[in-house]
Structures are given as structure tokens and as C-alpha cells.
């Protein structure tokens, strides 16, 4: 396949205008299927534009690798608080994930339950739409209600509303201490109940998951505060103990499921419904983990099995990250909402240059 690698926004806009059919936008290509269309790579749109640690803000070009962003922030003891996941283990892809790709899929890790998703830390964006028009929205300040929030709308749009070229973020300090507490538990109902007690407490849990065998809780902050809150949580939930390992990256990336020869699903639903669906899927022989207090369910299902049939009464939505099971990879929205979404896509991409690939 042809690969186009524009070096700036003007060149990118020209390529979009000159295209005569759909394109495949690629950052690192770590979260995408193999392209069957000409590729528009963001590799040439890379670099830090502005970093002001004292204002907690970072402006960066969209093709910059996540590892570069994370390294730059680490030098000043700051970080991206939304903990973007790494799709390489599950998707078996190689390459370097980009910050643009992370925003395009609103990739958010365990801290979403407390701090928020990629969209919540996004302060502004520049993108080139399907007609080759450059659009700037938002800015680089923490509070901004000037006009409609198109930057956040881009988060999770998977590139269907335009190619992101520049992004600004709120970043946060790295806490002095990070601690993980665990409790043996093989029942998702009991696990989610324990997670709810922790999340309903004032102890500021920043990770709340279940890896199939253990309830996992994370707390972060100043050292004295972390040990105080750890003690209180152990009092609240008898049996919780400190563990030294860091189980969060594995839980975030679905690594315990990645090696199985199965379809991989990611389901966003109400936390208490996470417990219900987990029980149903375990019964049916799936492997399951939970994050976000139960609000995010990962499942490895027999190839072709229809996970959505099990959740019709529960609400929420399921994305098939890997595999070919029945139905589309993305969960269909209700008709009235889908009509709005496709209306927006027609506005920003009238010629279908960025039409969904799968």
C-alpha cells in the first residue's frame, strides 16, 4: 500500500484534498488492522510544541510517540494521568503508539475510575477535516467554555472526523508514593461489592480492578497519606494486604487474556452490571477481568461467540478488539444517536475519506 508521510499541516491538507478515495490514518499502527487503503501516516507530525510544568500543560504534535511524551514529562516528575493502554499485547502489533492514536481511541487506563479518560485531560486540538480544512478548537487552559467542544468530540472518534495534528493536555504531578492492595477473591459479585465499598470511601482509590483471582486497589499521593489510607481501607475491607508488584499495566492492557486463542472483547457498562455480566460469561467458559470498579469488563471468548447476546438487558456497549465474532467490532448505537453521529461524519468528511475501516 502507498504510504504518505506529510511533514506539516499544509502538506497533510493537500494530500487529503488530492485523495480520490478512502484513506487509512496511522499513528504507530499499534491499534489498527492492516491497512487496505492508502495510508496517511502522522509520523512526520512529531515533537513537543510547548511544555509548561508550572501550568501543568503540554502541547504536542499528534504523531509524537507516547514513549517520548512520557519521557519528557518524567523529567519534570509529571505524567499523563489517564494512563493510556498499550494495545500491542492483545493485538499482536508492533510499532510505537502515538499520542494522536491514544486520543483517537480515547485510550484510558485504570485511573479513569477516579481521574478521568483521555478526553478529560484534553484541553484543545487542531485537526484537518475530510475536506482538507484546518480547524483549531479549545486551547491550552484548564477551563474553557468558549464555543462548542470539538476537541473532546475528537477523542474516541477514531479519526473519522479528521486527522489530529496538534493536541494540548492537562498533565499532573507524579505522586510521591503509589501502593497496591490485594484481596484473594474468585467471585466477580463479591469483587465488585468490595470495589464499590472502596470507591464509596473517602480514601481516593485510583485503581479498582479484579484480575480473576484478586480484588486490586491502588492509592497514590504523599507517603504518609498513602500509608494512612491503606490502613483505613484494610480496616474497611478485611483481608486486604499490600503487595509489592505493580499489577496495573497488565490489567490495563488485558495481558492475562492476550495469549489465549480467543476473541478479545472490551465492555463498558455500569459497574454493578459488570459483576452480572462477568458471572454470565464465566458460566459460559470465558476468561474475564474487571477494571474501573466493574465498569470495564475484558473477556476472552471462544472465537465467534456473541458476547452482546449476554448483555442485552444490561445496557452499555461492547467493542470486539480482536477476532471475527458476529456483528460489527463496534457496538451499534440506538438509531436516533447513530443518526446524529453519521450526520456529524457527513459534515466533517463529506467524501468519506476517513470512513471507518472495519
Amino acid at each position: 500500500m502507498t504510504v504518505m508521510t506529510p511533514q506539516d499541516e499544509a502538506e497533510l491538507a493537500g494530500m487529503i484534498r488530492a485523495a480520490d478515495g478512502p484513506l487509512a490514518i496511522r499513528g504507530g499502527g499499534t491499534r489498527s488492522p492492516a491497512a487496505t487503503r492508502p495510508v496517511l501516516s502522522t509520523a512526520g507530525l512529531s515533537g513537543i510544541v510547548l511544555y509548561q510544568p508550572g501550568a501543568l500543560t503540554l502541547v504536542v504534535k499528534a504523531g509524537t510517540s507516547l514513549s517520548e511524551v512520557e519521557a519528557v514529562l518524567a523529567e519534570r516528575n509529571q505524567r499523563l494521568a489517564f494512563e493510556p493502554m498499550d494495545h500491542r499485547p492483545v493485538l499482536g502489533t508492533t510499532g510505537e503508539p502515538t499520542i494522536g492514536g491514544a486520543v483517537a481511541v480515547n485510550a484510558s487506563g485504570p485511573r479513569r475510575v477516579q481521574a478521568g479518560a483521555a478526553r478529560d485531560f484534553l484541553l484543545g486540538a487542531v485537526f484537518i477535516d475530510g475536506a482538507g480544512t484546518r480547524v483549531r478548537n479549545g486551547g491550552r487552559v484548564m477551563k474553557n467554555v468558549t464555543g462548542y467542544d470539538l476537541a473532546r468530540l475528537q477523542a474516541g472518534a477514531r479519526g473519522t472526523l479528521g486527522v489530529l495534528t496538534e493536541l494540548s493536555f492537562k498533565v499532573l504531578p507524579v505522586p510521591e508514593r503509589i501502593a497496591t492492595l490485594a484481596l484473594p477473591c474468585d467471585d466477580p459479585g463479591r469483587a465488585v461489592a468490595a470495589l464499590a465499598r472502596a470507591l464509596g470511601s473517602p480514601y481516593e482509590v485510583t485503581g479498582a480492578g479484579w484480575d480473576g483471582a484478586r480484588v486490586l486497589l491502588r492509592i497514590e499521593g504523599f507517603a504518609a497519606s498513602v500509608s494512612y489510607r491503606g490502613g483505613e481501607l484494610a480496616r474497611l475491607i478485611p483481608g486486604l494486604v499490600h503487595v509489592d508488584e505493580d499489577p496495573w499495566p497488565a490489567l490495563r492492557d488485558g495481558r492475562s487474556l492476550a495469549g489465549m486463542a480467543r476473541d478479545i472483547w472490551r465492555v463498558s457498562l455500569r459497574a454493578s452490571h459488570g459483576a452480572i455480566l462477568a458471572a454470565r460469561l464465566l458460566e459460559a467458559g470465558a476468561a474475564v477481568t474487571l477494571d474501573w470498579g466493574g465498569g470495564l469488563l475484558w473477556a476472552a471468548m471462544a472465537p465467534g461467540a456473541d458476547l452482546r447476546a449476554q448483555m442485552a438487558d444490561l445496557g452499555g456497549h461492547a467493542t470486539r478488539l480482536r477476532g471475527t465474532g458476529p456483528g460489527p467490532a463496534l457496538h451499534p448505537d440506538p438509531a436516533a444517536v447513530a443518526a446524529l453521529a453519521s450526520g456529524l461524519r457527513r459534515q466533517f468528511d463529506p467524501e468519506g475519506r476517513f470512513a471507518p475501516e472495519a
Binding site: G116, T133, K143, G147, Y148, L150, L153, P173, A196, D333
Partner: protein
């Protein structure tokens, strides 16, 4: 400020329009007598007033849908209204518009502590959402100073914030789902009790769209467990510039208070006279609040004090009791009211990068001298959201216009240093004509394209947010 000329086509059908609304809705939901309409002629931007053609106050989503469907059929403009506390003229009617208000939709539909959410009808006031869950140890985080009066409807319309948003985020970060009626009467359910959007994140554009995309009748909101405790500290400085520098240093040091509020001397004096909060008489005051268990609070305040000491504070005073804390916040939250008692003022709402605080405060001082109008500064310093209050005399001819010019200069300054026109109050009619300072033509066009999808006839609150010249061919 100019409003579009009322459509003669609508005005001459007034009787028919009211009759059709009355025929389709319960009798007491439609107001059309001139005295009744006066109550809806303005919001909190009282300099601008205009009674609407009629007001509809539905009691259900279905009634909202009926009213919208009829207005859509008859090509009648609609202005959605919550509690009418907008400071930007967001809920200001036009003479040819039907105001659809959600004031009667106030029920709590569901509370779920295990899933940490509440579902309410949007006419419910912000404070009474917290009121519904606080006995059980929870609260709804966004806390506009107007929270006793303003409704969730308007909070969503404006993406409102408040003092504690430094830690907890603004409305968009705490909104999980809505029931929204489109202009043609279609009822949509967007989002819900779960966190990620299915396909496009439509809540992003709905929140902060100033009543231009639909009428939100129900909302699912995130609720949080109350912290164990919270304690504010007051710090007084010899100049605004030094206080501003102290704020940047605190942020850079990695301490994240829940709130950092700033007031200068004119504002401090007004608040003190009004609320008797015990504020010291200094040039610049910071109120910084931290949360947690007593030992955690002591630790964080220790770090903050150490940073503040480097800036030679004149006063540092920690709250010693719940009553003192309440008094400190009452003073701050009544700042606008207090200023209003002693002066006419115009309240600005620009945001700047916090690193620019000292520079911007200095330049606001220079503008104040240049225009000969006093300025009182009160703002959310932690996130750079400024509320300079420009003082003027409404009875003095030309003073309001002078004040508006100076306000525009300050907002241009905010944009120039990397900030924006409005951090939480919204654009409304007030900042509408400044939008071209912040946005290029293509940037605005992209926003208009979103409205085209939700409201193809451009009937919903269409005289707001965008300069009239920019929306010319689209508005009816």
C-alpha cells in the same frame, strides 16, 4: 449588543402559535399574558431584557417533546431555560421566541451509591443534587457560586464550573448521560451509567452548547464520596503580583489543593462588609483549601505554607473550626452579591495560563488606569479562570459603553497570552461578537456544522454564541 429583528412571519401568527401550544399541553403549562412573560424577560445579565412570545413550563420529557415538535412545525424559535442565572445572556429571550423552561422538572429519578451515580430531572438545582445524597456521605462536585439557584439544565448548557473544580473537574467531567429532546421532538438517550461513549462522544459537544443543540430533560451525574475533612487557609500578600507568583509556585511544586481562590483589596473589603468573613485588609488574598484526614490536611498545608513563606505573606491564617471554614467560603461565594451592593459592575470570565497571572494582573491594572474605571479581581486562580469585576456607574451616560470596551480589551488580553474568552459563564450574547478574536473563520464554521446536524432549521437559541454576521445565512 444587537439581537436579530424578530421574524414578522412569527410575530403575526402569535395567537395561532399560542393556541396550538395550549391545545396540545395542559392549560397551566403555557404562559402568554404580558405580566407573566415579564418574569422571563432576562437572566442574570440584566442589562439586556426582552419578553418572549410565550413561555412553556412542561412537567415531563413528553411535554417538552410536544412543545418542541409544534415549534418546529410552525418554524418558531425556542430559547431553553433552566433557572435563568446565566451571566452571559444565555437564556435571554428574543421577542419571537418561545421559552421552554425545565423549572418544573425537579425529581430525583434514581440514586445508586454502589455505582456512584444519580439520575435527576434537569430543573433540579445544583445544590439540591448534593442535598439528595449528602446524608449518605456523597456529593455532586461541580459547585458554581450560584449553586443554590442554578439548575443542572443550565450547568450542562454552560458546562459550569466552581471553586472546587481544580480537583474535581467541571460539568463535562462529571456528566455520564442525558435525555435530550431534539428540536423536531425526537427524544434521544445519550450515554448512561457507564463511562465510555459507544461511538462518538456526543456528550462532549452537548455539554456547553448553550441550549443550541437540544433540550436536556434528564441527566445521569457522577457522585463522589465526601472527603473526611477539608480546611481552608487564608493568605494575605502585599501585592496581586506576588500572590499570583505564589499560586504558580504551589502548582509547580506538585501540591494539588481542591481550590485556590484569589481576591484583591476592593473585593475583600466588599465581601467583608457583606458577609463578615473575618478577611484581613490586605492587597491580595488567597483562599486555599485542601482535603483529607486531619493529618493529611496538616501535611499539605505545611507544604503550602512553606512555599508561601518565600513570598513574604502579611497574613497566614488557617481555619480553626467548621464555622470559620464556612464563613471563609461564604465570603468568597457572596463576592458578586457583595460587590453588587456597593457598585454597578460587569463580571468577566476569561481564562489564562496560570503562569501568566502576574503579567495579566499588571496589565489589567494599567487598563483600569487608562479607562478610569475601577476593577475588583476575584477568581479561581488555580486554573487561571479570572473574574475581573469592572466597576461603573449605570446612571452616568457612556459609562456602560466604556466598561464594555474595557471588558473587551481584557478578554483580548486573555486570548493574547494563550487563554480564552470564557472559562465557565459561557458566550451567550455577551461575548458573542468577540468570538472572532479567538477563532478563525474555519474554526467557527466547524462549530456551526455541528449545530446544522442537531438543529437543521437553526431554531434553538440561534442568536447566541456566534456573531450574527457569521450565522446570517443559517438563521431563519
Amino acid at each position: 449588543m444587537e439581537l436579530p429583528r424578530p421574524s414578522p412571519l412569527v410575530m403575526e401568527r402569535r395567537a395561532e402559535i399560542v393556541a396550538r401550544l395550549k391545545a396540545a399541553l395542559p392549560a397551566d403549562t403555557v404562559i402568554d399574558d404580558p405580566r407573566g412573560l415579564l418574569a422571563y424577560e432576562c437572566d442574570a445579565l440584566t442589562a439586556y431584557r426582552c419578553p418572549p412570545l410565550a413561555v412553556v413550563l412542561p412537567r415531563s420529557t413528553a411535554e417538552v417533546a410536544t412543545a418542541l415538535r409544534l415549534c418546529h412545525e410552525m418554524d418558531v424559535p425556542v430559547v431553553p431555560r433552566g433557572a435563568g442565572t446565566s451571566l452571559a445572556g444565555g437564556s435571554l429571550p428574543t421577542a419571537d421566541a418561545v421559552v421552554i423552561g425545565v423549572a418544573r422538572l425537579t425529581r430525583v429519578l434514581e440514586t445508586d451509591y454502589a455505582d456512584r451515580l444519580i439520575r435527576v430531572e434537569t430543573g433540579r438545582t445544583n445544590l439540591s443534587v448534593t442535598g439528595a445524597v449528602e446524608a449518605d456521605g456523597f456529593f455532586y462536585a461541580p459547585d458554581p457560586s450560584s449553586q443554590l439557584a442554578c439548575a443542572i439544565a443550565g450547568n450542562i448548557g454552560m458546562n459550569s464550573g466552581g471553586a472546587h473544580c481544580l480537583k474535581y473537574g467541571v460539568t463535562t467531567n462529571n456528566l455520564l448521560g442525558v435525555t435530550m429532546v431534539l428540536m423536531d421532538g425526537t427524544v434521544t438517550e445519550i450515554g448512561g451509567g457507564y463511562m465510555d461513549a459507544g461511538d462518538l462522544d456526543l456528550l462532549s459537544v452537548i455539554c456547553g452548547s448553550e441550549g443550541q443543540l437540544g433540550i436536556v430533560t434528564e441527566a445521569t451525574l457522577r457522585i463522589l464520596p465526601k472527603p473526611e475533612g477539608a480546611r481552608p487557609v487564608l493568605m494575605g500578600f502585599g501585592s496581586s503580583r506576588v500572590a499570583g507568583a505564589c499560586v504558580s509556585d504551589i502548582i509547580e511544586a506538585g501540591v494539588l489543593p481542591v481550590a485556590i481562590e484569589f481576591m484583591d483589596r476592593p473585593c475583600i473589603r466588599a465581601c467583608e462588609a457583606f458577609a463578615h468573613a473575618g478577611y484581613p485588609d490586605v492587597e491580595a488574598l488567597l483562599i486555599i483549601e485542601v482535603e483529607g484526614a486531619p493529618a493529611e490536611i496538616d501535611h499539605q498545608l505545611g507544604l503550602i505554607r512553606a512555599i508561601a513563606e518565600r513570598h513574604d505573606p502579611e497574613v497566614i491564617r488557617e481555619s480553626g473550626s467548621a464555622e470559620e471554614s464556612a464563613a471563609i467560603w461564604l465570603g468568597r461565594k457572596s463576592a458578586f452579591g457583595a460587590m453588587g451592593q456597593i457598585n454597578d459592575y460587569m463580571c468577566l470570565d476569561g481564562t489564562i495560563p496560570v503562569t501568566e497571572l502576574p503579567l495579566v494582573l499588571e496589565r489589567i491594572g494599567a487598563l483600569s488606569a487608562q479607562y478610569g474605571l475601577g476593577v475588583a479581581n476575584v477568581f479561581h486562580a488555580g486554573d487561571g479562570n479570572m473574574h475581573p469585576l469592572i466597576l461603573f456607574d449605570a446612571n452616568k451616560p457612556g459609562d456602560l459603553e466604556l466598561c464594555e470596551q474595557m471588558g473587551a480589551d481584557i478578554l483580548r488580553l486573555c486570548v493574547e497570552v494563550g487563554g480564552c474568552l470564557t472559562g465557565e459563564h459561557g458566550v451567550g450574547v455577551e461575548k458573542r461578537d468577540l468570538m472572532t478574536v479567538q477563532f478563525a473563520a474555519d474554526d467557527l464554521e466547524a462549530q456551526l456544522k455541528v449545530k446544522d446536524v442537531f438543529d437543521p432549521k437553526w431554531l434553538l437559541n440561534a442568536a447566541k454564541v456566534f456573531p450574527l454576521a457569521v450565522t446570517e445565512g443559517r438563521r431563519p
